[in-house]
Amino acid sequence: MKQKHAAYPWLVLVALLLGASVIISLADRADGGFDLGPQRTVRTNNPKIGIHTRLTDEVEEVKIRKSLEMVREMGATWIVEYFPWAYVENERGVYKWNHSDMVIQHAQRQGLTTIARLGFVPEWARPQETTPLYLAPDQFSAFGDFAAKFATRYADQVSHIIIWNEPNLGMEWGYQPVSPEQYVEMLRVVYPRIKAANPDVQVLAGALAPTLANDQSAMNDLLFLQRMYDAGAAQYFDILAIHAYGWNFPPDEPPNPAVVNLRRSELLRDIMVDNGDAHKTAMLTEGGWNDHPRWTRAVRPGQRIDYTIEAYEIALNEWDWLESVNPWVFRYPWDAKSYQDYYTFVRTDFEPKPIYSEVKRYATGME
């Protein structure tokens, strides 16, 4: 009897050691316990091909992996993905990285380069009854702290970060008056913090909505960019993010300040050059064509295919200042049941639309 009791402490000790070793090995796993699969590389004829994914609200890991596998198989090297601040730091100082870890690790495993778009303000960092796109100047530093945390955490995995989205639209600026100067003030606070956290990361700014409007709700993107430079923006970004929607126009439609088309990007580039930023590059981080049957700014489905491939070709052959082209959008987690569904390359059930198959054929030579 006595001998039997004497064995218990040893058994407990062994059990504790086993448990601890399991916990330690799980914690040490670089993949965070995700089902990442083997390391892949992208095979493509055009290294500038990318696409904006929309995995922010995609919950299931298997669907995130499937999306990124299909992006890689399409021959895209780049993805732009949105990482909302409020999703990670919903409670001040408490960071929940699981979803962003999942997306970024899967992207990396598929051999994709992630361009991370940051924004979306948590409730604690804004006044009540404001939208998550409202960021007051006294919270720029809090946003900068989050961006720095992000840059540190993903120093080996995320090489590009976009600060904010379409600040020239009132809606995207929390329904405050649009202000290039205030946006530059944000860059002035956020950029150094990101660079201090990871000097190698490339910081993108701009991401302006192409628009001809100039009123309370929006500011013309060309005007906005010039005023950004006037306010001293050049010191606070490395690459210009451009949004280039084609609306009804083919890709070879010449640039014109009075028209929204693909080559409006060249006008933005001219402003960069005029302001001494010729040495910097740009990226199309949103854009493309829509083939909704009833939207007045849509084209036929076949035109959408042709125009998209032509845009990738223009980027490769004509625009040496442009690093990548990332049309909106690969797939939605669910149907929007509006014209937005007609921007996607793949249906919610992962059925490839013809545009996916044709871009894949163009980029890889495979069906």
Binding site: P301, K337, D349
Partner: protein, 323 residues
């Protein structure tokens, strides 16, 4: 006997407990769902009756369903359909023009009583709005020349396909192949078998093209011939006898069929198009109403059946899908 009596008496507290629990459950459910709901009450229907009008939201930018006529007034299939309902109910029809993406919000906020605007059914919003039965299928149809239809219909594969499609429709999945269930996979396989070795015309990049590529993955002998527009698909079928079928949206198909009827001559079987089975990729248009508009929904569904049976829906197609 006295033991039985005792047993039945002993049950009473349990019954009370059961009934009490059920009542508590119902109360909890009613509170959690925002109050009691009596299926026979319908505030939208009541408001329509007392107001004497039916306010219908519509985005008049999608002919032939709804657009603005030369005088700037809304006109189209949906407008005439709305008028049919209003006439039956003795109500005045009030059309409220609203942008397509804001229609359901207008419904939720009580600005309108219904939406009739070539609105596709959205299963994700059935907790927010009430939908009618579909009144028009705008999805992708497989169509062949009428001269080929008989031969196709006489095959075993077609019989099997019809059986599966009927079963799928009975399960509420008509033409909806988003779900990769066994039935829809079988439908695709049979459809591929039906088109095996045939040339199939599609609009380049369209949903018809997507379905064609799905079928081609099952049977690589299917050859897809892409054309720039739906109308070119139709013309190609007329001009090229090698083309055995088309995958095309139902609106274009109906417009073509009606144009042939309107020519006054009986359609040439070598060029007339006949659809085979229901939509292979569904896109049903429905009428939307505020959530829990049970009376209005019943009325609309009943009248839709009546309009179907009396040929009035067919009349609307004749009017609005003819060139």
């Amino acid at each position: 006997m006295s033991e039985e009596k005792n047993a039945s008496r002993a049950l009473h507290p349990l019954l009370y407990l059961l009934i009490g629990s059920l009542l508590a459950l119902l109360l909890a459910k009613a509170i959690s769902s925002g109050g009691f709901f009596f299926p026979f009450s319908d505030p939208t229907w009541s408001a329509m009756q007392s107001r004497g009008t039916w306010r219908v939201g519509m985005d008049p930018s999608f002919p032939p369903f709804e657009s603005l006529d030369a005088e700037g007034k809304p006109a189209g299939y949906d407008l005439d359909l709305a008028q049919l309902f209003a006439d039956e109910w003795g109500l005045q029809l009030e059309i409220v023009p609203i942008g397509f993406d804001s229609l359901l919000d207008a419904l939720r906020t009580g600005q309108i009583d219904s939406v009739i605007s070539a609105l596709p059914f959205d299963p994700r919003t059935t907790q927010d709005v009430t939908y009618s039965e579909p009144y028009f299928e705008a999805g992708i149809r497989l169509a062949v020349r009428s001269s080929d239809a008989e031969q196709m219909r006489s095959t075993d594969v077609f019989e099997e396909l019809s059986r599966d499609m009927t079963a799928s429709a009975a399960n509420g999945n008509e033409g909806n192949n988003n779900e990769s269930n066994g039935t829809s996979i079988q439908i695709r396989k049979n459809m591929a078998a039906l088109l095996s070795g045939k040339e199939v015309a599609v609009e380049w990049g369209s949903m018809g093209d997507m379905v064609g590529r799905q079928l081609q993955r099952i049977d690589p002998t299917i050859e897809l011939l892409p054309y720039e527009t739906p109308n070119e698909v139709i013309i190609a079928l007329q001009d090229n006898s090698n083309i055995g079928a088309v995958l095309i949206d139902n609106i274009t198909l109906l417009q073509f069929q009606r144009s042939q009827l309107q020519s006054g001559q009986s359609p040439n079987p070598a060029s007339a198009l006949i659809e085979i089975g229901p939509a292979v990729e569904g896109n049903p248009y429905v009428i939307a109403m505020p959530y829990r508009s049970s009376k209005l929904q019943t009325e609309i569904n009943y009248l839709l059946q009546m309009f179907q049976a009396s040929g009035r829906l067919s009349d609307l197609e004749q009017i609005w899908f003819s060139p």
